[in-house]
Amino acid sequence: MSPATLALDELLTWATRPDCGAVVTFSGVVRDSSSAHGNVHALEYDTSEELAEQRLHLIVDEAWRRWPDLGAVAVHHRTGLVALSEATVVVVVASPHRDEAFAAAKYCIDTLKVSVPMWKREHFLGGSAWSSEAVPLGDVVER
């Protein structure tokens, strides 16, 4: 969790290691429109960094539990204001083989979307509003 620009290239260098033949990344990028508004020029994230980081750690732990061969897993999320075409979240997974790298990266972002306490405010031409795409907070590990 950080308000700083996300440096995917540094994360990639960190994740790349001689025992991992596959590195998959996901970047979530601020789009110019949402299901509710056109002309979106920025997103603003509200959160409790402490609560959100707890959940991000749980997600990474659970990814490692599901795919024990993973070599590296990182999930970074920006806070505060993020401008159009900038990344709000990046996931990086390195693994010996590609199937689990894809599966783990998708698991991380899918689970983040429903289980991390973050709230997205869309700034558009003429105003701003909380995202209409919110979903009830879920657990990282299904009970």
């Binding site: 409790s48 999320h77 979307k113 009830p136 907070l137």
Partner: protein, 78 residues
């Protein structure tokens, strides 16, 4: 007084992010918050999860001075 943390749309509905509220139990503390902030907050609270000290808590959980109650509306990260 327990600490109250109001996030995202709950903060907007209450008009503030941090507050303090008395117990003795979670449901009583939340009822007092609704009295204080009004209908829009009640509407958001109804669709929110509530955590005490970072974990889901039962409505009848006791709330003490060192506890943090977080109101977590439907999320939209990523």
């Amino acid at each position: 007084m327990a600490r109250l943390l109001l996030l995202g749309p709950a903060r907007d509905a209450a008009g503030l992010r941090h507050d303090e509220v008395d117990g003795p139990t979670l449901d009583v503390a939340l009822a007092r918050a609704v009295e204080r902030y009004g209908e829009e907050f009640a509407r958001v609270l109804a669709i929110s999860h509530v955590w005490v000290n970072g974990e889901a808590a039962r409505a009848d959980a006791p709330v003490t001075e060192t506890d943090e109650i977080a109101v977590l509306p439907p999320v939209s990260g990523g």
